[in-house]
Every structure is written in structure tokens, then in C-alpha cells.
Amino acid sequence: MKGLLYKDFRIILKDYRSFLILAIVFILMGVFWKEGLYGPVYGMFFLTTVVSTLQNYDEAVGFRKYCETFPLSRSDVVNEKYLLSLALTFGGILLFAIVSLVLGRTEMIFETAMAMTAIGLSASAFSLPFSFIFGAQKGSLVRMAVVFLMVICGMVLINYTDVILTFLSSQAMASVLIFVLIIAAFEISRRVTIRFYQKKEL
């Protein structure tokens, strides 16, 4: 699995650097301009798009089939993409947290980190099963629908940023519950993907 992670990070740095730069710019915007959730959330969208794009890339260049020749199980292949998704999500959060702490803008750090985790993990939890099970083309149609829905949700939620932030900060239990639900969805998504992908004929 380590080799697959190396491959994906290498491709990100070589071919998808622009996604990474945009994600960093949006995340930093959230810290510098005090735009609330807008910057970090859009930054996370870019990061999760990288995972989906890498999925399509693997299929387009024939790496998915070539992987079958390696001493790796299909669950290793699936786990690697989920691990990558976790790494990018927490990388984004870490960047946001470090810059926020350095600049002393710590007032909404926990809530924003929660929102970033929610976006990062839920986007992968929704999109990865479809692209693994149905392939890049059908999977990307579903992903487009999911992203569209999330953008609409995001646009609606931006109008209620204050309300959400107040709710999250005042109701610690609620935010913990949301966090737990997202982690559970991520884990269920991973298990479902492994189960179906193991049966898929390549």
C-alpha cells in the first residue's frame, strides 16, 4: 500500500499541483480574511476532488488493471484511496490550524476544523464507492450529482454560518455527534467499497 501512496502523492505533486495550490489558497483565505467557513470548505472541495481525479486517472492509464499484477489485495487498493483521502483532509486541517495558531486567530478553529473534516470525509465517503464499483465514467456522473448537492447545501449553509457556528459552539454534544456520524459513514463507505470491489471483474 505504501507504494500506491507514493504513486498518488507523486502524481499530485507532478500533475495536480494546481489543485493543491488552490486548496491551500482557499484554506488560507479562511484564516486571513475571516470569511468564516467559505475558504476552508472550498479548500476541502479541491482536496477531495484530487482523490476523485486520481481515481479516474488510474482507470484512464490502465493502472487499476495493472495493480492486479502486484502482490496487493483489492482491499489494499481501496484502503489506499481512503487513507489518501484521510491524509489530505487532515493535511488541510493541519495547515489551517497551524496558520490560525501562528496568527492568533483561534476563536473558530475547532468549529472550522470540524466542518473541514465533515466535507473532506463525507465527499470521499460518497464518491469513492461509486467510482470503484461503477468505474470512472458512471462514478463521475454520481460524483457530479453529489458535488452539485453539496454546493447547494454549502450555498444554503453559508447564509446560516452564524447560526451554525453558534449551534456548533454552544452544543458540543451535537457537533461531536455529527463528527461521529461522519466517521461512521466514512468507515461504512470503505467497507462497502471493499466488499463490492472484491467481487468486481476487471
Binding site: K2, R10, K65, Y66, C67, F70, P71, E201
Partner: protein, 279 residues
């Protein structure tokens, strides 16, 4: 021991069926799997690699009964598909770095040494490599973890004669070790004729024969016969026949032939068996 043992393999698709395939690659041998495009060669290899499940039959690779959950048996198998599928922007150094973390026994020194011998450019992105160099890269990767079994699916197709010759040399080198075996599938019969110890003919999903190359040459012959001679031959002895302007040619076992008969190349034998009329 057989490096590969496929018994009674059947796989049904909507428009194609691989029927009751019994194929074995003895240890230390190069088996050439010959068949036209769509004969079922790739399906057989996909079943071997567990990329697809057979409807019936059993597969054993290097003594491991399939299906098996633990993929570690692939440590001993080098596989070359028609398209290797490396990331386009990767150079040899990137591929080496990735493979190091995939195979326990990956040998970087051997990888680069082989790359030098085969003149694979080190600074070129995989996407910019010629088809020959891309295929050579796939072969480097299949060999650089020191496998005991090599499986090559249409590895020679689309390559120029020089590269094909290089590839065949590599195979000969590989099988100098008596424990090393190769399954090489191709529709370019002349390549297989050069490199293989055994030949198997696959046609429309059915295995027509599997035999040692020298035995094949010895065993079968082409005989030109008149109509009267043809009528006198037991139809079950005729493996294929072709009637042309100048008479009829039949393919049959040398021992049953009415006259001395003419030896055939493997390519001719395959064409005769596939295209000739069967009685």
C-alpha cells in the same frame, strides 16, 4: 511440478465462452499460447491472475490453489500485460521508487542494469516512450523482483522485430534457471516458435492441443492427396483439410499418413487446424 495448472476452466460471457480449458505449464518450460484475437488467451490469463472468476474449474499457480485471499503468491510471478499502465508522468526512477514499496524482493540495481541493457531511456516520461520502450519497461518491472514464473499477455504485439528479438532473448535468459517457467500468449506464432518449448493452440475458446514444440513438428504432417486417396482415409484421422485449384491437402498424424508427408511450421499447423475444413 507444474508452475501453472488449469483444469476444466469454463467461463461464459454473453458472446464468448472459454470451454473446459485444461492447460499446464511445467516448471522450467516456456509455453506459448497461440490463438487469434478473441480466442480466449487474455480471459485465461485474467482467470489465472484472479481478475475474473471462472464459472467452473480449478487453477493452481506455483502450487497455490486459487482463489486465495493472500496475494503474496504474486511475489513469485512477473506479469506483463499488453498495456503496463504506469502513470504517464513517471520516469524509471519513479517506477523504481514505487515498486520498491510494492515487492518485498524488488532489486533496484537489477532494474537499472536491465534498463541499461535494453536501452530504456531513464529521463523520458512513460507517456512519451515508444511502444517498444513502454513494453520493455513493463518487462523490467516483471523481472526486477526475481520471479519464478513469467506471464506475458500479447507482450510482443505491436513491437518491431528488433525489440521482439530482445524480448525473446530475455525470455531465454530467464529460463536458464530450470525452476523458472514462462507462459507467453501471442497471436504472432513465429515469435512463439522461436522461444517456446511447448505450444498450446486456443481457438474460439477451445484448446485444440498442447504439445512440446518438437513433438508437434514430428507428429503432424501435410499430405497432398487425390480424391480417391482422400476417400480412402478414415475421416477421424484428418485434423484439417484444404481443397485448392491443384488438389487437396490434409493435415494428419504422420504415422497415419498414406505417404511421407511434408513437415509444417507451427504457424502453418495452427492455420491449418483453424482454417482447414474439419471432417
Amino acid at each position: 511440478m507444474n508452475a501453472i495448472e488449469m483444469k476444466g476452466i469454463t467461463k461464459r460471457y454473453e458472446r464468448f465462452e472459454l470451454k473446459d480449458l485444461n492447460l499446464s505449464v511445467p516448471e522450467g518450460m516456456i509455453l506459448g499460447l497461440v490463438g487469434e484475437n478473441g480466442a480466449g488467451k487474455t480471459t485465461a490469463i485474467r482467470i489465472l491472475l484472479q481478475m475474473t472468476r471462472p464459472d467452473e474449474g480449478s487453477v493452481q499457480v506455483m502450487g497455490v490453489q486459487m482463489p486465495v485471499k493472500n496475494p503474496s503468491w504474486k511475489e513469485d510471478v512477473g506479469i506483463v500485460l499488453e498495456e503496463a499502465g504506469f502513470p504517464w508522468s513517471f520516469r524509471l526512477a519513479d517506477i523504481d521508487r514505487m515498486m520498491k514499496d510494492i515487492y518485498r524482493s524488488w532489486d533496484s540495481a537489477y532494474f537499472f542494469d536491465l534498463a541499461d541493457r535494453l536501452k530504456v531511456p531513464k529521463e523520458t516520461n512513460y507517456h512519451q516512450m515508444s511502444r517498444g520502450n513502454a513494453m520493455k519497461t513493463g518487462i523490467l518491472c516483471a523481472l526486477s523482483h526475481h520471479p519464478k514464473l513469467l506471464v506475458l499477455d500479447e507482450a510482443t504485439s505491436g513491437l518491431d522485430p528488433l525489440v521482439r528479438d530482445d524480448l525473446l532473448d530475455i525470455l531465454m535468459d530467464f529460463t536458464r534457471d530450470e525452476h523458472h517457467s514462462v507462459l507467453l500468449s501471442s497471436h504472432i506464432v513465429s515469435d512463439l516458435e522461436k522461444a517456446c518449448d511447448m505450444i498450446a493452440f486456443l481457438h474460439e475458446g477451445k484448446l485444440l492441443l498442447q504439445e512440446e514444440k518438437d513433438v508437434l513438428r514430428e507428429k503432424y504432417c501435410r499430405v497432398s492427396v487425390t480424391k480417391e486417396e482422400l476417400d480412402a482415409i478414415d475421416p477421424t484421422d484428418i485434423l484439417g483439410s484444404r481443397t485448392g485449384k491443384y488438389g487437396t491437402e490434409v493435415l494428419m498424424c504422420r504415422e497415419k499418413a498414406p505417404s511421407r508427408g511434408e513437415s509444417l511450421s507451427i504457424e502453418d499447423l495452427f492455420i491449418f487446424m483453424v482454417k482447414g475444413e474439419h471432417r
